[in-house]
């Protein structure tokens, strides 16, 4: 699959598989029911779709699967609002509407030949999951893969076994910390910024991709800049209210940026002037 012109009117998609990742997080594995629509669809890591639940509404959700997986495309969703809670009730075989793909994704081409450093906080790991999958499938194109994940509480970490499996791969380092560890927690206790020192990062040959709460990304960016990173090598996935997906409805504006079409992935130098105030 490669990036295509987004649909403005949804197409029907079927839930081929539904995975409960945690009590509040689930993954929908989807396929467009119209074979020609599915064959013509493509996306880039970091882009998102608008998922439509009949009679309820739409919600923007990033795509976590690999763009070259032409069998299915996956969305990992947290039940938190009206639409995502209702979507959680759908079972295998149910149909929903999908518009997309929207937005500018991660700088995968720029990252080739360099270390890829993934920094995530809270539950915000879904948008970078596509990057991790992308790098692992094309391992020879990238140097070291460093995955740094912070969570509030040990119970918040989904895909714990995946982190442990990645840690065993060559040229791959995994650093996980919980603000509050629990019994049997195999990782570190503390803030995500405390992990940055452990990772022995290469400031001149790394592309950093971040996602999570804005305050956490700002703290990580400040820390990395003090370690000699270039602002243009730090990439953040921003979240705002998105309804149209293509810069018309106005909800996602952050200063002069339309997060839905100019982002959701931005380099630090593109948005640093907008991060301090709550815009």
């Amino acid at each position: 699959m490669s990036a295509v012109q987004p649909f403005q009117v949804p197409h029907e998609a079927e839930i081929i598989e539904r995975i409960q990742e945690s009590p509040s997080i689930y993954t929908l594995r989807l396929r467009f029911t119209e074979p020609a629509v599915h064959a013509g669809y493509g996306f880039a890591p970091g882009q998102f779709n608008m998922l439509y639940l009949y009679g309820v509404g739409e919600v923007p959700i990033s795509i976590v699967s690999d763009p070259e997986d032409d069998h299915l495309f996956d969305h990992t969703i947290r039940s938190v609002g009206r639409v995502t809670r209702a979507l959680a009730n759908l079972q295998q075989g149910a149909r929903l509407g999908v518009r997309g793909p929207f937005g500018r994704g991660w700088p995968m081409a720029q990252a080739e030949g360099r270390d890829v450093v993934i920094v995530t906080g809270g539950l915000g790991c879904a948008p970078v999951m596509s990057v991790i999958n992308y790098v692992l499938r094309r391992r020879e194109r990238f140097r070291r893969l460093v995955i740094i994940q912070g969570v509030k509480h040990a119970d918040d970490l989904i895909w714990r076994e995946r982190y442990q499996a990645w840690a065993k791969l060559p040229d791959t380092q995994v650093f996980v910390a919980a603000d509050k560890a629990g019994p049997g927690w195999p990782f570190r206790e503390g803030l995500v910024t405390e992990l940055l020192g452990d990772a022995q990062l290469d400031p001149r040959n790394s592309t950093v991709m971040m996602c999570g709460p804005q305050g956490m990304m700002q703290a990580v960016a400040r820390d990395l800049l003090s370690r000699g990173f270039d602002e243009r090598d730090l990439w953040l996935s921003m979240e705002r209210n998105m309804q149209c997906g293509h810069g018309v409805c106005g909800h996602c504006q952050m200063g002069e940026k339309f997060v839905c079409k100019d982002g959701p992935v931005f380099s630090y130098d593109e948005i640093k002037h907008l991060l301090a105030a709550r815009l």
Partner: protein, 366 residues
């Protein structure tokens, strides 16, 4: 290109204004223009020149709008009312697509607006400028462009700007400079007319005009100059850097105390484009329509995201509106999002004056 060539000025006596209506109807246009409704001047459908608001005057102040009658035969001797051209092209309620459910299967179909061929009479220069901004913002929007296609714009230069107007300082009026098909200056005995496009030239050729006399041209020129003398002004044309340097200015908090966060300013603003999408489901559950309706950055829901409201108080919302309107628009569309129409001042229920607020924040001369 519309309105950039120097066309010869013609003159139409007021008694023959009906000829303009006749020609437009014969060309298949639906005519929309200023009408007096519910105590305000609004754009509504017109069938003849007698329906224009003859002799009507307006008085506008922050939070105040009053119409009065005069003996003047003029039909356009008022400043803009609350409604801009916005609802004609960016509909306040626009069906986008429909979904049908049958035994669990979903089918989707696009919904297009009905074709319209509008001739809009009495457009002011500020609203032409606002329309150009919406043309840029909605350039790839099928619904807007469908409604907008083929619209004929007849501008009437403002002869009676309101106390709340400041188009001279934004550079958008009171004289139309681009984007019109036909331009009128209303005088006591009739209309100086000048085409601004091929469609306007064709229209003008069908009207019983004479060449405008030197007296008519001079009177129009003096009227234009008088209309440019306005009480209010903005401190500068590009306030983006000035406003974004003052995001923590105490004035935002002071204004938020007065602001009701009602969204009147965004409703009457000719350039505000925010809209929200929602489902309108049929009661039997077999059909659901996706529609978009006007939204406002002053609502709590505007910045809602997964359980969090980003702009969670009026201070942040007013700041968002003003920094976008006078700041971010420059980066987005190459100019300010304010055309100086003054509607947000008149229609603010507590009379917050945008020009006063911005001067307090960035200084009188930014």
């Amino acid at each position: 290109m519309k309105g950039t060539l120097v066309d010869e000025q013609k003159f139409l006596v007021r008694e023959r204004l009906d000829a303009l209506f006749r020609v437009l109807v014969e060309a298949g246009y639906t005519i929309v223009g200023p009408r007096r409704q519910d105590g305000a001047i609004v754009f509504a459908q017109l069938t003849c020149a007698d329906e224009l608001p003859a002799g009507v005057r307006d008085a506008q102040q922050p939070g105040e709008y009053r119409l009065s009658d005069s003996a003047s035969p003029r039909r356009f001797s008022f400043a803009n009312g609350p409604q801009a051209l916005k609802p004609l092209f960016f509909a306040a309620h626009e069906p986008l697509w429909e979904a049908a459910q049958d035994q669990g299967r979903l089918t989707f179909s696009a919904v297009k607006p009905a074709r319209q061929r509008l001739a809009i009479l009495g457009v002011r220069a500020c609203d032409l400028a606002a329309l150009a901004l919406h043309d840029a913002h909605f350039a790839h929007d099928a619904h807007y462009t469908s409604r907008r296609a083929g619209a004929l714009l007849i501008t009437v230069n403002c002869s009676h700007p309101a106390a709340t107007c400041f188009c001279a300082s934004t550079g958008d009026g009171p004289v139309a400079s681009a984007g019109y098909d036909l331009m009128l200056d209303e005088l006591d005995d009739g209309y100086v007319m000048q085409a601004g496009s091929e469609a306007g030239r064709a229209l003008l050729a069908l009207l019983p005009t004479t060449a405008a006399s030197a007296e008519h041209s001079n009177a129009a020129g003096q009227q234009r100059a008088a209309a440019a003398r306005q009480q209010r002004r903005l401190p500068g044309r590009n306030l983006q850097a000035g406003l974004f340097a003052q995001l923590e200015h105490p004035r935002w908090t002071e204004t938020a105390v007065r602001c009701l966060s009602c969204g009147n300013c965004t409703s009457v603003c000719p350039t505000c484009f925010c809209n929200t999408q929602l489902d309108e489901a049929a009661l039997d559950g077999t059909q659901a329509g996706r529609v978009r309706v006007w939204d406002s950055c002053f609502t709590e829901g505007h910045s809602y995201i997964h359980g969090v409201v980003i702009r969670d108080d009026t201070r942040k919302r007013y700041r968002q509106w003003l920094t976008h309107k006078l700041g971010s628009w420059h980066a987005q569309y190459g100019r300010s999002g304010c055309v100086g129409c003054g509607r947000c001042i008149t229609w603010c229920p507590v009379g917050i004056d945008l020009t006063e607020e911005v001067a307090a924040i960035v200084g009188e001369n930014a």
